[in-house]
């Protein structure tokens, strides 16, 4: 019944060289498909000032935003240059996490990753794990980002308010009671005509930074920079600053984004427990050797 494929070195080399070409020949674009990434020879128009609006996609294609092995600029791959500047508490916490990817990965049945059960991935994991098509909306008071991944959104306030002074007891001020948030508190401003910088704190520390189990504390401070390089491109840089977990700030991802057509309809990518339960019962649990039926 079975027949394993014999994979020769020659065939593998051929596949490496020509896979993209074969794909382009094989598949017809469908409505809603994300294919509008960068092409050679393009000459985009100049960047508009103070404008992030639009639907954005990783310029190299959707897979460029998927960071399975942890934050794209610092993946958990064992390379010395990617070893994070952990504090003793940071390393201890990292080793206590059991991700399904990265150098400390375990089989999925043994993971303590909070996200697969549809708990909030929060910010910044939404961009350090699986940055997919996202819509940015600007209003006079704020910048709103709608993320395809797990269909989430967040607000970056631009009305002049300041970040909560105490990130461990965060509030926008009295009479609001302190409330740590999965998505934190965010404020932002234009530092020049084309560069918008946001800062966030006040996080719930039950989330992970990324898919490789990198930790954060309630002292997490995230800096986001969005630089509009031309009409069609935006460069996103995320920096992690958490003195309880890391001895110094580190750049977690730099991602070049491409503007999509205004009519682009972002598809649903929702973590639905009812679907996850069936997936686990029929596939994930038996694959991991668990009999859940």
């Amino acid at each position: 019944m079975r027949s394993d494929l014999a994979i020769s070195g020659f065939a593998l080399a051929a596949a490496l060289a020509f896979c993209g070409h074969a794909h382009a020949q094989d598949v017809t674009r469908q409505p809603g498909a994300v294919y509008d990434f960068d092409k050679k020879g393009e000459k985009p128009l100049p960047a508009p000032k103070h404008d992030l609006t639009g639907v954005w996609e990783p310029a190299a294609g959707p897979s460029a935003g998927v960071q399975a092995n942890g934050a794209g600029a610092m993946p958990s791959d064992g390379k010395p240059e990617h070893d994070l500047p952990f504090t003793p508490l940071g390393r201890e916490t990292f080793m206590a996490h059991k991700p399904t990817f990265g150098i400390t990965q375990v089989p999925s049945a043994l993971t303590n990753d909070p996200m697969p059960a549809c708990n909030p991935q929060g910010f910044p994991r939404v961009v350090l794990h699986n940055f997919r098509t996202s819509r940015i909306i600007q209003t006079p008071e704020n910048v709103v980002i709608l993320y395809e991944f797990n269909k989430k959104w967040r607000v970056i306030w631009t009305d002049g308010r300041q970040l909560p002074k105490d990130p461990t007891e965060p509030t926008w001020g009295t009479p609001d009671p302190p409330e740590s948030r999965w998505w934190g508190y965010s404020v932002g401003k234009w530092v020049d005509d084309y560069t918008f910088v946001a800062e966030s704190n006040g996080f719930d520390d039950r989330t992970w930074l990324d898919n490789a189990g990198r930790p954060h504390s309630d002292a997490l401070h995230v800096i986001e920079e969005y630089r509009r390089v031309d009409r069609d491109h935006l460069e996103m840089t995320i920096t992690i600053d958490d003195p309880k977990m890391y001895t110094k700030p580190w750049v977690a991802v730099k991602l070049r984004l491409r503007l999509q057509a205004p009519s682009f309809d972002i598809r649903e990518m929702e973590c639905a427990p009812i679907e996850t339960e069936e997936y686990n019962k029929e596939f994930a649990d038996p694959a991991a050797g668990i009999d859940s039926k």
């Binding site: 596949a15 794909h23 674009r29 508009p48 999925s108 697969p116 898919n211 491409r258 973590c271 679907e275």
Partner: protein, 144 residues
């Protein structure tokens, strides 16, 4: 056991090359990642859902014994990008599936290629999506 030609092998290799970075939800540890199995079967369920679509199908060996396989594909947005839609398979369809099996020997795997009843071959939705076809392009123009 019939393998459906060079094209299927080629797509399977493409999926092998690009799969790992896209499997962002669920780890590779359970899979025998160097192994591929290709088989013909009959669809018993095609579930289009998050976190991953999955296909259930039955395979009959030369002695008439039937085994029931479950194979996962990627999530719906990725599947769309790779040319799929939820109506491409229905119960009773005959398909040829290439997959990465799990290590524990159960009839479970991760799809690298499927030959549909109409002869079209698609990958499992993992990895970089195909480039846009010429003459089928939407404007990439932004709002400004």
């Amino acid at each position: 056991m019939k393998i459906d030609g060079v094209r299927l092998v080629f797509l399977a290799l493409c999926a092998l090359v690009f799969a790992a970075p896209l499997l962002a939800h669920h780890g590779n540890a359970a899979f025998d990642n160097d192994k591929r199995i290709t088989m013909k079967g009959t669809v018993t369920e095609w579930l289009w859902a998050n976190p991953h679509c999955f296909l259930q199908f039955e395979v009959k060996d030369d002695s008439g014994n039937v085994s029931r396989w479950v194979a996962e594909a990627s999530n719906p947005p990725d599947m769309i990008n790779h040319g799929w839609n939820k109506n491409m398979l229905k119960v009773g369809d005959r398909v040829t599936v290439t997959l990465i099996p799990v290590k524990n020997g159960k009839p479970i795997g991760r799809i690298t290629a499927v030959v549909l009843p109409n002869g079209q071959t698609l990958d499992g939705g993992f990895g970089a999506p195909p480039a846009r076809n010429a003459g089928n392009a939407d404007s990439t123009a932004g709002t400004k």
